[in-house]
Amino acid sequence: MRLLVTGVNHKTAPVEVRERLAFDQNALGAALRALMKRAGVVEAVILSTCNRVEVTAAVEEDCPVDDMLEAFLAEERGFDLDRIQPHLYRHEGREAIRHIFRVAASLDSMMVGEPQILGQFKAAYAAAKAEGTVSGFLETVLTRAISVAKRVRTETEIGQSAVSVSYAAVELAREIFGTLAGKRVMIVGAGKMSELAARHLRRAGATHMLVTNRTHSRAEEMARLFEAEIVEYDRFKAALSEMDIVITSSAAPHYILRKDEMRRVIEARRNRPMFLIDIGVPRNVEPAVNELDNVFLYDIDDLAKVVDANVQARHKEAEEGEAIIAEEVERLMERLSARAVAPVIVSLQEQLEQLRCAELERVRGRLGQLTPQQEEAIEALTRGIMNKIAHGPIAELRKNAGRPNGIPVVDTIRRVFRLD
């Protein structure tokens, strides 16, 4: 059985090509059925996401496939093959397995370590399973890919750190407060970014929120969104000492919170830590505020640096992920190869057993009446001889299974023992 993968992703094709090649979830079943009708295709699966469209197929060993999958993709999506050919990648055999593992483990994603791809991968597998287009060989590869992806996520920290500014703010808040349950949040200036950060904080457990904005209607809108209280803009500073987290994104052209004010606030809080997230441009909080003990001020650039560092860390973790994948590819290749020589081994064992029984039957008349103990001893003796004869060839078959230069060895053993 040969394994082939072809497709496009965010690295090989622009969005105009990807969006035209993408399969609608409802049309996936029909596409899979069409693919299965192609000559030599035994199993197939189609993965279609916003960053990737790829077709994977297990085809018969001796069937010439050439660019069969590429042609299928072009015809199915109404493209000229020559037009999409430059954007397509193609992997076969071991490389195809490695590619499938990397995709499932999110090592080939636009944002390395993002968790959605595994869900999309599982959905593609489920769709193929529902259509009956995976079983046996490809199913083994796909289910193994899902396990490998989980292993990569568990054994590395590839998906641990935040890679968006708003989520980085939540991660930092967790580093300061531990749990965010019961923490009080004030949103000063109801912009889009602060809305996003507030949404993440609320999801993380910070349920008590206050909103203030120069434009009252916008404050009301956001207050409704988060079931928050509204504070008048000219009075929000009086409530600051009660707040654990303050998000500022006011359009004010000057600092709205200064060091002296914050010193009084933190004293009133009896030094309980306070996290200020300043996403306003120009900045809303005087940078010197960060010099105060137990006040942690992060502006938009600081958060961006956190995100950059996290992205780099993910790439570093991805190296470990690659090592895991290399190990898993080897393991699966061994398994698949062992599976390929299994029929030869079974055939050899059956052949030798038939030989043993026939020879025993032939000489039985000359042996005369045997006691049960003698019968047992002869059985054990002949079986032992056969096992010893079989041991060498079986060991050679297992050793050479999957090796490029192992095929002649397998063929020789077949011929020697007349296993056809």
Partner: protein
């Protein structure tokens, strides 16, 4: 005549002990369920304390500050008066966390001027000393935890301040978790060390009368307790966190190590 003065002083110490209990509960449980009872008992204690001082003053014919015990008693009384005034004027209840234990211990020391009868039962004597050692060791262990957690807090705080993500210190717990750990361990350290000091003082008083009070190692032990008391007070009233809190807790730990070193060999007392 002195006996009556000491009696009133010891009665005052007994009433002040409610304040001590309040302080311990405030630090350990972070709530003050006993404050009303403690302040009531404290007021009555101050009256009895005044009676004791007046009685002694009449007896000696002047203000009784002739020796360590009398000075401790008068000092405790004045602190108690100041506290009652501050509480009446400013409602500064959290000051009680610091002053209740201080007044209690000073009054207890003041009441140790006249020796009581020796140990009635030798096993009680030995058990008492073992309980003291256990309490102090538990206190030191909690103090060690406080110091370590405070240093971790400081490191984590600096790491967050410097905005250098993904550092080695990522493995440290969040500041909030460390803060809770510090508050709890500090509370237990204070409670154990205070009870350890009380058991030690009463044991030494019964064992050796008044001789022990002037020993240098006793001074160090009381200084350690005083630093713990100050640390707890600054934490609960002023919310000391970060650098200052870390330095103070490490200092308290260092002092406790010195106290421990000074008291090595206590075990031999059991065989005496």
């Amino acid at each position: 005549m002195h006996e009556l003065s000491i009696f009133w002083l010891r009665a005052a110490a007994a009433l002040y002990s409610v304040g001590l209990l309040h302080a311990i509960l405030t630090v350990v449980r972070r709530s003050a369920p006993l404050f009303r009872g403690a302040i009531g008992a404290f007021r009555v204690g101050v009256i009895l304390h005044l009676v004791s001082i007046v009685e002694r003053g009449v007896s000696v014919g002047h203000l009784p500050v002739d020796n360590f015990y009398e000075s401790a008693s008068v000092c405790a009384f004045l602190i108690a008066l100041v506290f009652l005034f501050v509480h009446w004027r400013y409602q500064f209840a959290s000051l009680g966390v610091f002053l209740f234990p201080l007044v209690f211990v000073l009054t207890l020391l003041g009441g140790m001027e006249i020796p009581v009868a020796g140990w009635q039962n030798r096993s009680v004597r030995d058990a008492w000393l073992v309980v003291h050692v256990l309490l102090i060791l538990l206190g030191y262990a909690a103090l060690l935890l406080t110091a370590v957690a405070s240093v971790f807090y400081l490191v984590q705080e600096r790491h967050l301040k410097k905005k250098q993500p993904r550092a080695f210190f990522d493995r440290l717990p969040p500041l909030g978790t460390l803060d809770n750990l510090i508050t709890s361990s500090m509370g237990f350290a204070f409670a154990f060390i205070t009870l350890g000091v009380i058991t030690a003082s009463t044991w030494a008083f019964i064992e050796s009368g008044t001789r022990w009070i002037r020993q240098a190692k006793i001074g160090i032990a009381f200084l350690t307790w005083g630093v713990c008391l100050g640390m707890v007070f600054l934490r609960t009233s002023a919310g000391w966190r970060g650098r200052k809190a870390a330095l103070l807790s490490v200092f308290a730990l260092g002092l406790s190590a010195v106290t421990w070193a000074a008291h090595v060999g206590l075990r031999t007392l059991l065989t005496r």
